[in-house]
Symmetry: D4
Subunit: 164 residues, 8 copies
């Protein structure tokens, strides 16, 4: 299965969060690749990655980073693909505010699709819904996923009513 989504992160310490993007894509049966690409420590690699991802068949990029998180925005400045940014609450972060604002507040012309703090799972779901917007098979899976959420809540609600 060839990769449609590229999941990159600024540091291998981000993998513990970013793996949740991979897991949910596995669930949706969507191919992906995983790499460490640091805007600050490997700027040339980041540059090459962003210039070429769409030429390799990648359709969506998911990029996670913490602190002064420049990776999602820098990739978005170069690549024509939609870039989903995952702010990561790293150690010495200021409660995550730094990564949120560094990813969210991009200037006019260069959007990043930002999700919640540590929201890698949601980044994966968003990637699926983006692919699904032109692929009905994937869109059906997204709808089924939402239906399943509903069933889970129904079960939990019943447990609560019975046991509370």
């Amino acid at each position: 299965m060839s990769a449609q989504v590229s999941i990159i992160m600024g540091s291998d310490s981000d993998y513990n969060v970013m793996r949740n993007a991979a897991s949910i894509l596995d669930e949706f049966g969507i191919g992906y690749e995983l790499d460490v690409v640091s805007a600050h420590r490997t700027p040339q690699k980041m540059f090459d990655f962003a210039q070429n991802a769409h030429k390799r068949g990648i359709q969506v990029i998911v990029a996670g980073a913490g602190g002064a998180a420049h990776l999602p925005g820098m990739v978005a400045s170069i690549s024509p693909l939609p870039v989903i940014g995952v702010p990561i609450k790293s150690s010495n972060s200021i409660d995550g505010w730094d990564s949120i604002l560094s990813i969210l507040q991009m200037p006019n012309g260069i959007p990043v699709a930002t999700v919640a703090l540590n929201g890698a799972k949601n980044a994966g779901i968003l990637a699926a819904s983006i692919l699904g917007s032109s692929n009905l098979e994937i869109q059906e899976k997204v709808l089924a996923y939402k239906e399943n959420l509903k069933q889970q809540v129904a079960q939990k609600a019943e447990n609560l009513r019975n046991n509370a």
Copy 2:
């Protein structure tokens, strides 16, 4: 030209910001529709909109709202389409923090692709890059747009060096 993008907003007073999403889609030659849909004042309309948008050929939803901004997240909870949320700094907003956090911090399972405060223009560009991820003609336009940004900066830089 049929609408591929639906631009909705919680109040007609948001139009002054949200029109920038429409303008940039005009520039890209992408069809869109515009509507006022309030999660709080017209919950049933919002519900119907979200359940049916993908059936009408809409591929991306752009939703702007201010204050305790529930529209993007509520639409995302129902629709299988990617939803781009635009936090709007309305009057009596607390510097925009309320709309940012109400849109960004969605729970696991229900992502919203959040852009910067008042970032409707970026929402339009992000919609284009999402459509472009499976449509090479649009992707080319996104690349051309980025190339154009570069030219503009080059011109401004020359002006600055000559006149400063």
Copy 3:
């Protein structure tokens, strides 16, 4: 004893906080019901709940949710009943600011009676004082509760003066 108060929450993981609303209503001898209703995962159930609660004899709704907490506001947009919102500090919350602002900063027309972060006990007391505003028996219990708080402080103050 039929339920006068409905205590709902966005996730069963909120029960650990929301049980404090139930406990204090038990103390006041006020009937209540408990359920999991998610604005995002079960939007139709939320919709039905909000449209019908007042028809079933419910007089006050207490709704707790974390993160981008839309449940209290969405219920308030549909139901004519007073809705008390309890912001919950969930994991990956940004210190609770997200749930506070998502519940508190409702637009004109749709109020939510917001209490402190994790303040489910206070939500229960507020429900009692709302019922008590047209029911002297309950109002007497609220006054007695406040008198009791005073006694407890007096005892603790004496302990402190004796032992410090």
Copy 4:
């Protein structure tokens, strides 16, 4: 028409905001009284007010204050009535954070039903829904008010679609 709601404020400079609570109660046909009661400048008057309001037939208190806003919480500590707090963004306020947190974050035992910054209109609507929870005539008016909001949005949406 005797007063069911008491609207108090910490300073006459708050009247510009708090008048919106009065206006909406006029619309609902609910009687109210208006007064300046300062927790800090007239503590004895505040004390007397809070001890006696429920004895005079008042059923709901709406209290607005800015900065380190102690009025709503102090009144709630004494009166058995539900107290709705309106944080006011006064001059030299720190963007309203001070009044929000001073009103919202009450300790266990003493709830204040907090509404949005400068949200006096919503305070009036909340007062109506509280009265309506035991008075079907008022509850009908609250439902009609919500229906009316829907109509207004429908009209504005049509204008936007026609003119945008």
Copy 5:
């Protein structure tokens, strides 16, 4: 030794912080009293305390409280004495911002001398310097205390240079 300073707190759970005010006053040989006085749970006791403290020979009041911390400001609104406010970071506090702003941002006319979050020790030193401003013996002790701080740093600096 009769009490010149009155140390009060909103809850006995604040004692763990507030005891540091008592300890440093012991070090300075200044008499004090300790009590639990809650603005919210014992408003009448607070009222009586504030009206009478200066008549009993108290010269400085130190008041600690957490959350929506009204005790220091309410006492300052009634008593002519200088009131030192200690914001306490209680559980469910929002990182202490609520208690800081509730104590610091008092309106014109009613100052509270606010110290750092959990800064009870500094409150005791400030009380000493206030008493010392008209009592040379105490002022000498304050100067000696500062001299002692200098010595301690000199010792620690030497240890660091020798062992680092």
Copy 6:
């Protein structure tokens, strides 16, 4: 009338705020001096000021500064006198948070009595209550001032009730 209070500020641009401390001391009939002393631009002058103020008969220091406001804390580190700090919201300040935190969050051993943002008037009143703690004549004036606040509110309340 010799100066009992020294009012200093980091820049002459702070005078517009700090004059309110002077005005209220005039009202209380308390002597004061005014000076510009910058911790950053005139560190030696600041040093000399702080070492000698108490020797010249000064009993209370009021120090205002904006941004990274070091003046109150630096003076408090040297002088045995109580130092009242006034955070000033200067241009390029971050909403005043910088000056508040730079003055309030002093380390153990070196308290600053912090008042509200731009709260120079309250700094003057606090200085009066500090002097009044050992001078009954001044304490009487403080009590009269509070009584006067009450009268003013009574008048404004009557106006509001008559005209609203």
Copy 7:
């Protein structure tokens, strides 16, 4: 005079702030160059600039940017030179917090010397003190500059004492 300092900014709209860095370098007689280099709009130009600045004789880089400000950090990731970052409070910025945190909170390995919001003048002075650390002539000018600040304060203080 050849350029020792390179002043770059993300947008020509930043020039109004960044010109203050140029002015103070003029005052110190230090050569500089000015350019617009956008991390997001001209990533390749930024890359080339950062790789070559030190080869052209530049010794210090001053980089200003607003919002999600990636320019200073990206340049610092490539260049061996000290990079001084100036956070700029642009329109739609969130009070400047976004640019401050995006510049300040760089990960280990890639420092940016951050100055205050809009602090371009201080960036120029810092550049001078960096050059002065190995050039006594410039260091003398920095000392003279500080001496001059002292004189200015002395003059302003005298004016205040005479005219207040």
Copy 8:
């Protein structure tokens, strides 16, 4: 090896963070000294240190402090050397915001080169790049350090791709 860099801190409890500045300077082979200098507890020592450091051959000062952190700014007000400020997240700090703002937001005329919260390692690297701006041997080491970061990321990326 004589000291080119002086690493000072406000308290010996800051050493756990500040040692990282020393370690990285060891790695670069740059001489340094370490001392405890408190702006608040040893103001005269701080004064003497700042007046003399450049006369002793020191070229860069690294100063760490927490809370209302005045040490870096006070030293910068006196010394002509570049001062790198390290905000330290101490106990009772408000998430580090107090130390960040107290160091960063210096007034015009007195810059401090601020690095990230607890960013002592980056302070050391910045000191090296400052020395390197006029010393090609050190500049080469800084370039080699950046090259090494790149290698480390390459290794970690390979591990991730192989094992994820």
